[in-house]
């Protein structure tokens, strides 16, 4: 019979104390920077402009170089080719040697030669080969009274894909792994912080003051909800940065599909995180000192790891089964939705099971939390905590 907003006050304190914690802010900022960095590098690499300097030492070569320039610039959007002429072969070689030109185009070996200093840029070579072959073939065809088209007729090779979804499967896997990783990070870092803050309250005995004012359940609810809101906000930030980043890369066509699946991830994240966070709070309540948390939280560390491994490695039937089993379903099911292997009713069913499981866990956890919160001598086993009188 306390104010209905007591949990809200607790949740607000949790959020504010996190938001004023430099470690939390820097780690969030750091991860955002890494995500932005990954996509930034990708986008930069894809959009990098390049310029090639080609030198020639004869007018025949210069004419051929004009052809090479045209084809290369047609083939590669951001590439330009600069042409220059040298008086003789030695001068041209010298320009390449001292880096003023990338290649020297000249005749030799019964054809044409591109001489570079240590290498010849691949895209320039590909385009040059096409340009020179077409040019020379045109001349040869004319000499033989025919045309290039006639010579090439029927020789085109094209490709076709029977599995058009292959791309999407790869994308689903990559995005799924990324989200599984984020879920793992969030439940682990927030969980551990939550356990530690419960121990802090126990160790400083402020919990004695708080629980004379509000009920233990309200305290637990406030702490879990506060952390959930923060974890969710952090995760949303990462996902948004990721999606914006993705839209700048060549994979931008996947953004709509991923955005759709994020809805399912959100629902599963909220419930799954709530379930785990409550257990982390119990792990904190079972210990009396920060040092003990490592021991009391070991089972949880294992569970979180197991969820991650299930997300990364589960396959076939195992994956289908795990997508219904809490707490694995929290991440495995939305991954299946993303890859398109689970219909909406399966997702809904898994979510319902997860909600029921979370409800049960919260009830059990509240009892454990309540009974162990005022025990300040050493560590408690689950059995002790369960049977301790209030």
């Amino acid at each position: 019979m306390t104010t209905p907003t007591a949990w809200l006050t607790v949740a607000r304190r949790e959020i504010i104390s996190k938001l004023t914690d430099k470690t939390f802010l820097w780690s969030t900022f750091g991860l955002v920077a890494i995500i932005a960095g990954i996509f930034g590098v990708q986008a930069f690499m894809a959009n990098r402009a390049s310029e090639y300097a080609v030198v020639t030492s004869s007018s025949a070569a210069h004419q051929m170089a004009e052809q090479v320039k045209t084809v290369t610039e047609e083939d590669h959007d951001k590439t330009t080719v600069a042409l220059s002429r040298s008086d003789d072969d030695a001068a041209a070689q010298e320009l390449v040697r001292n880096g003023d030109a990338d290649v020297w185009l000249h005749e030799g070996n019964g054809g044409w030669v591109l001489s570079g200093k240590t290498d010849v840029p691949g895209d320039l070579l590909t385009s040059a080969t096409t340009a020179i072959r077409d040019e020379v073939m045109g001349v040869n065809a004319a000499a033989a009274n025919t045309s290039v088209e006639a010579l090439q007729r029927g020789s085109e090779v094209s490709t076709a894909l029977l599995d058009v979804d292959a791309d999407r499967a790869v994308m689903a896997q990559v995005v799924g792994f990324a989200l599984a990783m984020l879920f793992y990070l969030a439940s682990f870092t927030f969980g551990l912080a939550l356990a530690n803050s419960v121990v802090e309250e126990k160790a400083s005995r402020i919990v004695e003051i708080i629980t004379t004012k509000i009920s233990v359940r309200e305290l637990l609810a406030g702490k879990v909800i506060g952390n959930l809101v923060l974890a969710f906000a952090q995760m949303a930030l990462f996902v948004i940065v990721g999606l914006v980043g993705l839209s700048f890369t060549e994979f931008d066509r996947f953004v709509p599909a991923i955005s759709g699946a994020v809805g399912w991830f959100t629902a599963f994240f909220v419930v799954g995180f709530g379930l785990l966070a409550t257990l982390w709070a119990v792990a904190g309540a079972l210990s009396s000192r920060t040092e003990d948390v490592q021991v009391t939280s070991t089972p949880l560390t294992m569970i979180t790891m197991a969820i991650l491994f299930a997300a990364l490695f589960a396959d076939g039937t195992v994956k289908v089964v795990l997508s219904f089993v809490p707490p694995f379903s929290a991440i495995v099911m939305p991954m299946r939705v993303l890859e398109g292997s689970a219909p909406w009713w399966q997702a809904l069913l898994a979510l319902a099971i997860l909600v029921v499981a979370a409800g049960l866990v919260v009830r059990v956890a509240a009892r454990l939390y309540q009974r162990s919160l005022l025990q300040t001598q050493g560590r408690l086993s689950l059995r002790q905590a369960w049977s301790t009188p209030e």
């Binding site: 306390t2 400083s204 005995r205 004379t212």
Partner: protein, 297 residues
């Protein structure tokens, strides 16, 4: 002035086979300071935790103004636990505001009350500091503010004076008296008997989980046998031979005596005057520490 009443009736609590609190009964009337004394492990802290609902009772009940105490009543009680602690990394004002809000105050009302209390303790310029930066004595003052800032209906304070310097003890005493004079029951435990004697109107003495004495200080003083100190002009050794009196102690010309019947008193005085001078004859008021030793022995 409305006066509240806190009654503890037959309270029991055991931990495993150990009975920590055994049929503890006493009242804490409003407007009075009730001292709660007893040795280590006597059950003071457990009793206070039972009153605050932090532990479940195994028998008996706590009554607030005549009816069994409810959660909402407890929320109106200022409580200071024995082992002090606040969030070490949170700022003083933020932390106290949080506790005030949990007690049902609005944030702004809480802040006003906190700043008034901080000023009283000369800590107003430390409001923005983290609790861990304060000295232990100042941390304790902050903790006291946490208990008092809501203008509580009762105060349950476990060892509120331990760790305070004499000056802080005095300002704390003033503050508690103010609250008592609002009609609020104040129960505090302490090891410092002379402080309790100076401070409290009533006393509850606990030993091995049981109440061995409870009542006003005057009442408790009346519990023990009445003794008189007599100082004569010469040696007092002859007093031992008089009938009807029990001599506890003779030190030269001075003696501590107890009369076994009323008639022995004038007889002794007459005999003393007969033999010479009587410099001093007074009823001796026992110190609280003596009463304490007597009731707990």
């Amino acid at each position: 002035m409305s006066t509240h009443l806190l009654e503890i009736d037959g309270l029991r609590r055991s931990f495993g086979d150990v009975v920590a609190v055994d049929d503890v009964t006493f009242t804490v009337p409003g407007g009075q300071m009730t001292g709660f004394v007893g040795g280590n492990g006597a059950g003071k802290t457990t009793t206070m935790r039972l009153i605050m609902g932090l532990l479940a009772t195994h028998g008996g009940e706590v009554r607030w103004n005549g009816s069994p105490i409810k959660t909402l009543d407890r929320r109106r009680i200022g409580y200071m636990p024995e082992e002090r602690g606040l969030y070490p990394k949170q700022k003083v004002l933020d932390q106290l505001t949080y506790l005030g809000e949990l007690s049902g105050m609005t944030a702004s009302a809480a802040r006003t009350s906190i700043m008034e209390h901080l000023e009283r303790f000369g800590l107003e310029d430390r409001a923005g500091e983290r609790v861990e930066k304060l000295s232990l004595g100042n941390q304790q003052r902050v903790q006291i503010i946490a208990a008092l800032m809501t203008q509580p209906d009762a105060l349950i304070l476990d060892e509120p004076f331990s760790g305070l310097d004499p000056q802080a003890v005095d300002s704390m005493v003033d503050l508690l008296r103010e609250h008592a004079s609002r009609g609020v029951p104040v129960l505090f435990s302490s090891h410092q008997l002379e402080l309790v004697e100076r401070l409290c109107d009533r006393l509850v003495v606990l030993a091995k989980g049981r109440v061995v004495a409870a009542g006003s200080v005057g009442e408790l003083r009346g519990v023990g046998p009445v003794r008189y100190r007599i100082t004569l002009g010469g040696d007092a050794g002859w007093l031992r031979d008089l009938a009807g009196i029990h001599v506890h102690d003779v030190d030269g010309s001075s003696a501590l005596v107890e009369f076994q019947d009323e008639a022995a008193r004038p007889a002794l005085l007459a005999a003393a005057v007969d033999r010479g001078d009587v410099l001093d004859f007074a009823r001796r008021i026992p110190a609280l520490s003596e009463i304490y030793r007597e009731v707990t022995s």
